[in-house]
Structure formats: structure tokens, C-alpha cells
Amino acid sequence: MAILDEISSFLQQGRAPIVKEKVQEALDQGLDSKEILEKGLLDGMGIIGEKFKKNEVFVPEVLIAARAMNAGVAILKPYLVEAGVQSKGTAVIGTVKGDLHDIGKNLVKMMLEGKGINVIDLGVDVSADQFVQSAVDNNAKIVCCSALLTTTMNEMKNVVTAFVENGIRDKVKIMVGGAPITQSFCDSIGADSYTADAASAADAALAFCS
């Protein structure tokens, strides 16, 4: 459908007002809300994600694309609810205790939403207990921990430990990320996944949902 390609294309250009109009136009044409979401909005976001991984686009391009996606999703939401379209799973996300940086965390959140995952954002300075509580309350499959500082990254170990101590370690996949984080650190604390960028994080999260 030409209009779905247009939605995807305008989304990639970060043109939120036009994406909004085109989504409405697609609905008016009688297109299925799920199809508009997946073949229009999520398709465009997926392309931006791939380009981001290859360093072909940078943070601002991703942010404006995600904004355009959210504008489109807002129009679609009532139709999606009516059609009974459910999210692919729930992820709890936050920046760990002591750390107040959220640019990377917000980017991951947007990318996860771009894959159709429901994201509960706990913000910054999130304690291990808060991660556990929110994961339980929201029946989350995924817990995403972010840290920008080498001074705070060790807090991620406390998050993993808290899930073990509460007997629910096997209920969630714990993902870690942020500038100082590495695969060897992820392995050393017993987390499930480290990804180097927000788009790869979304791919990994989606794989955990299936």
C-alpha cells in the first residue's frame, strides 16, 4: 500500500505532523489499524534503528523519528484497543541508583516501543527493589538497567541479586547497557544481555518476548 510506505518514509524523516495526517488518512481508507502500525510505523522505526546501528543516522534523527511514531500511535491507539491488538510484552526500564543520566535510557525506551513492546519507565536513580517491585506489578518479561558512570555501574549487580533473592530471577531477562558497560561486565554480574546501542537492545528485547 502506497500510504503505508508514505507513513514509513515520513516517520524516517521525523515529520510528526504529516505522519499523524497520513495515519488518519489510512484509517479513513479503511486500512486495518494493526497493519498501519506494523507496516507503516514500526517498519519506519525499524529502518531508522538499522541505520542507527550502522552509524548512518545519529541520536537526533532517532529522537525525531520516535516522536513521529508516537504521534502516529496516539491516533491509532483507540483502534488498536478496539481490535484487541496487544503489546509484544512488557519491559521495565530505569537508570540505576545513584545515576541521574537518562538520554540513553530514553532512547532504548523509544526503540523498544518501536518494536511494539510496552515499556514501564521508572526514570533515574532507581533502586534494585524498585526494579523488582515494578517487574512483579507489571508482569514484566524484561528488565533494562542503564548506567552512564563507572561509579554507578556496579549497582547493576545489586539489581541481579535482588531478583535472585526474591526468587524471580528466572521470570525475567535482565538487560544492561550504557557507555561504560561491556559484555564481560554483563557476564561477570550474571545479567542476560548487553547490547552496544539502543537499536540492538530493541532487537534483543524482542527476541526475549518471543
Binding site: 529522537l63 525525531i64 537518562d102 530514553n106 552512564l148 563507572t150 561509579t151 557507555a179 561477570s188
Partner: protein, 245 residues
């Protein structure tokens, strides 16, 4: 002794001052400020800068190889992890970042980090080389966004850029015993006021910078990575360790 220092430009004033007074022969390679944001790039540029010392010697542009290569860096988002020393030992301060170096010790930094969590640090080097959250800097960025992404998106992007400033609550200005421009603390105070933060002034302490240039590297505060070893992250108070390649 010959010491080659590879340092972030944020140390320009303090390091240059103490280098000039060192009893040793000091050479310095300066790298751009801000590489901590992209630790992979920092690692690559540090490796290139180390390799360049050997290349210069091979091409006889350098008469003597240094006895030690010192990194004017902390962990800096783990950007120093993975570096290898070939024939010349590598020396690195065991600090999280440059703020600990400007404050004089990792211990003082961690104490202040706990006491004043939410502090945005500024000093000579940061004001002179980095993006700082001043009105002027944000205006400049807004105009760049406007040109690239249009007016509507520019406002949104600037809003996103400012989000982190809402999480901070204090601007900590670190005074330098080497040089203070009278405008700098005023600028830091103005940034604090504009962002709704508290303003605190702290005395800087150049003891680690002095140690870097004088070769007085204690095991407690510096890692000496012997030749044929690689720097690894330690994830404890020691921060980094050396392992055989």
C-alpha cells in the same frame, strides 16, 4: 627519565603547568575533550596515540623512546580498558574520571559524589573545551537543530537535550591553584541560577596531576601496566588491573 603523557585537553592548564616544572623530560599528546561519551573511539584514539610514539621513533622524528607512557585519563567510561603496553609500561590513575583528578583523589571524589549526588562539575578545562549547559550553548545548539531538522523538531530536540539538567541539583565549580579566570566562577554560578541548581565552589587539588608529571606513582593511586600486559577493568576499588597479553 622521559615521560610521554597522552591526555585529554581538559587538563591543558594544570598539566602544562606541572609538566613545565617536572624534573623529568615530558612530552604531551593532547586528545579532544568529550571522548568519554564514545569509549570505543577513546580507546581507538589512545591506541593510535601510543602507536604514534613508536612510529615517530622508527621514522627518527623522535630521538628517544619514553621510559613510561602516562595516560592523562581516568577510567572515562572504561575507554582505557583493553589498551596494551608493548615495550613501554603504561601508567594510569585509578580514578573514575577527570573530576577525581581535579579534586585531588578518588576518595575525595567518591565522598563528594555521595554527599552531593546530582552535581554537575565545572572548572577551567570544562569551560574552555566542553559543551556546558549555558544559555548560549543551548541557543547555538537550537540553531544547529533548526537548520538540520526544522523549527518544530528543533524545539523538541532541545527539550530532550535539556532533560538531564532537571535531574541535577548542584553546580560544583572546582577552583584551580594554577589559574582562575574571574569570569569562570561567575559563569558557573549563572548556569546554576538558570537551571535552578545550587552553586558550590570547591578547592581543586593538583596532587595527582603533580604525581603524573613527577613520576611519583603509588600502587594505591596508579596502575603501572608492565610491558606485555593489557589493562582490564576490575569492578572494585582498584578500578583497573594489568593482565599478561
Amino acid at each position: 627519565m622521559r615521560i610521554h603523557i597522552i591526555a585529554c585537553r581538559v587538563f591543558t592548564r594544570e598539566l602544562s603547568y606541572y609538566a613545565s616544572r617536572s624534573p623529568h623530560v615530558i612530552d604531551i599528546t593532547w586528545l579532544p575533550q568529550g571522548l568519554h561519551d564514545t569509549p570505543e573511539k577513546l580507546r581507538r584514539m589512545l591506541k593510535d596515540a601510543i602507536d604514534d610514539i613508536y612510529i615517530q621513533k622508527e621514522k627518527q622524528m623522535l630521538k628517544h623512546l619514553p621510559d613510561y607512557i602516562v595516560l592523562g585519563y581516568g577510567l572515562c567510561s572504561n575507554g582505557v580498558v583493553g589498551l596494551e603496553s608493548r615495550d613501554i609500561p603504561l601508567v594510569i590513575p585509578r580514578t573514575d574520571d577527570c573530576i577525581a583528578v581535579f579534586l585531588g583523589s578518588q576518595k575525595r571524589y567518591l565522598d563528594l559524589f555521595e554527599k552531593y549526588n546530582g552535581t554537575y562539575w565545572l572548572n577551567n578545562g570544562w569551560i574552555e573545551t566542553a559543551f556546558i549547559p549555558s544559555k548560549e550553548m543551548f541557543e547555538r545548539r537550537y540553531n544547529e537543530y533548526k537548520e538540520l531538522y526544522g523549527e518544530e523538531n528543533a524545539e523538541f530536540l532541545l527539550e530532550q537535550d535539556k532533560l538531564w539538567t532537571k535531574n541535577y541539583n548542584t553546580c560544583g565549580y572546582i577552583d584551580s591553584s594554577v589559574y582562575t579566570c574571574p569570569d569562570y566562577p561567575l559563569l558557573a554560578e549563572k548556569i546554576a541560577k538558570d537551571r535552578g541548581w545550587k552553586y558550590c565552589r570547591f578547592d581543586g587539588d593538583c596532587r595527582l596531576i603533580k604525581a603524573i608529571t613527577q613520576g611519583t606513582w603509588t600502587d594505591e593511586e596508579f596502575l603501572i601496566c608492565p610491558k606485555g600486559h593489557r589493562i582490564e577493568a576490575a569492578y572494585d576499588e582498584s578500578k583497573i588491573s594489568a593482565v599478561p597479553i
